[in-house]
């Protein structure tokens, strides 16, 4: 009789423990684990957003455009040409001409261009300079590479000067000469000549009167003769306003 009583007590002794365990597991599955899942999901969304923003910022860095401005004939209106020279499509949201903004919202694919305007600039006085810039959807602001235009009551718009700049990367020293060859006008003009052996990079600019086909002949002195550097003559056609008014040429020296 005593043995039976002991056995039955031993069987009942674990009920509370079992209940406690069930409650603990219940709390784990209904509160703790869902909480951790929600937190993990929030972390995942956050990480995803961080990655998206990194990609967006990277695309913003890769945005690169050239902006040109040119006047329409017989008027106060200006056109803005945007050339996308980057690797990503660019959405132009606005153009600024001095303190006036013009909404655009046009997408320009990589390696293509688009023309915006005509824009009428208000309050033009004699000698008023118009600075042009565009803003992209990624928050980049690009200024007109040809600088501004100036309005004159007598003669209309004045464009910036045209020119070509040559930079010789001179790492080993040498004598150099640079000659501008006007292919359209079939003429040559000396731009630069070393008077002694040079050890610094050579930078020389040559203004040109009008758009046309040009090339820069960059030569190095060898003995008493001038020899073209590798890559010379360098074509430098100026197609302003459909291209930049100022061309930079980089060439490796000796």
């Amino acid at each position: 009789m005593r043995i039976i009583d002991t056995l039955s007590r031993k069987r009942r002794r674990g009920v509370s423990t079992i209940l406690g365990t069930i409650i603990f597991i219940g709390i784990m599955f209904t509160s703790i684990i869902p909480m951790m899942l929600v937190m993990k999901q929030a972390d995942t969304i956050y990480e995803q957003k961080v990655h998206e923003m990194e990609v967006q910022d990277e695309e913003g860095v890769e945005e690169d455009v050239n902006v040109y401005v040119y006047p329409y004939q017989n008027g106060t209106e200006l056109g803005v040409k945007v050339e996308n020279i980057g690797n990503v499509p660019v959405t132009v949201v606005r153009a600024w001409l001095n303190d006036e903004s013009f909404e655009i919202n046009e997408v320009i694919s990589a390696a293509s261009d688009d023309l915006f305007g005509p824009y009428n600039v208000s309050s033009l006085d004699n000698g008023t300079s118009v600075d042009v810039k565009i803003v992209t959807e990624r928050g980049n602001v690009f200024y007109c590479i040809s600088g501004g235009l100036t309005w004159y009551e007598g003669g209309g718009w004045s464009t910036t000067s045209l020119g070509i700049c040559v930079i010789i990367h001179n790492t080993a020293g040498g004598w150099y000469q640079i000659i501008l060859h006007n292919i359209t006008g079939d003429s040559t003009h000396p731009v630069y000549e070393s008077h002694s052996k040079e050890w610094e990079d050579v930078v020389a600019s040559a203004p040109v009167d009008e758009p046309g086909e040009y090339e820069m002949i960059v030569q190095e002195k060898k003995g008493s003769n001038w020899k073209d550097l590798p890559g010379s003559p360098v074509p430098a056609n100026i197609n302003y306003p459909n291209g930049p008014p100022f061309i930079m040429i980089w060439i490796q020296g000796k």
């Binding site: 509370s16 409650i23 219940g26 509160s31 929600v38 956050y46 903004s101």
Partner: protein, 159 residues
């Protein structure tokens, strides 16, 4: 004598083991239920706080704005700046402008606080220089500070 004592003890064992087990189980269920309820509520609150904190942090990192343009009035008493919010969330910005004359002395600091800028929007914010008008050649350092602790800077030369 000894039999009487045993009889007394036997009389005191009134609760049967079954009832004791039921009472113990009831106590465990009651306390366990209370803990369960508390844990459930606490975990909900903790999860909500965490999610809200993460969303706030997310809004902070997706915030993007830039000073797009600046100009001044001809008499130099006012300056306008245009702030473009190219991010995905609305922002509130405070603008601080610190003007320095061409000889290097700082002569005027002005601020314009609490300017809402909707996502994708452009707003013009005007700053009034009452104590010292801007003059051509002066430099104005502009700082646009958002309420989520992001900044955009702009340097303007008065023309």
């Amino acid at each position: 004598m000894a039999d009487r004592r045993i009889g007394r003890f036997r009389k005191r064992r009134a609760l049967s083991p079954v009832i004791a087990t039921i009472i113990l189980s009831a106590v465990v269920i009651a306390i366990g239920g209370a803990i369960w309820s508390y844990a459930s509520g606490a975990s909900t609150v903790i999860a909500n706080d965490y999610v809200n904190g993460t969303l706030d942090l997310m809004n902070e990192i997706v915030e993007r704005f830039v000073v797009e343009h600046a100009t001044n009035t001809s008499d130099g008493s006012n300056m306008s700046i245009w702030v473009y919010n190219y991010g995905d969330v609305d922002i509130i910005v405070d603008v601080y402008a610190n003007a320095t004359s061409f000889n290097g002395s700082t002569y005027s600091v002005r601020s314009n606080l609490t300017n809402p800028v909707p996502a994708g929007g452009l707003i013009e914010i005007e700053i009034h220089f009452s104590t010292g008008a801007l003059e051509p050649g002066d430099t104005v350092a502009v700082k646009v500070h958002s309420r989520r602790q992001n900044n955009a800077y702009y340097r303007y030369i008065v023309s």
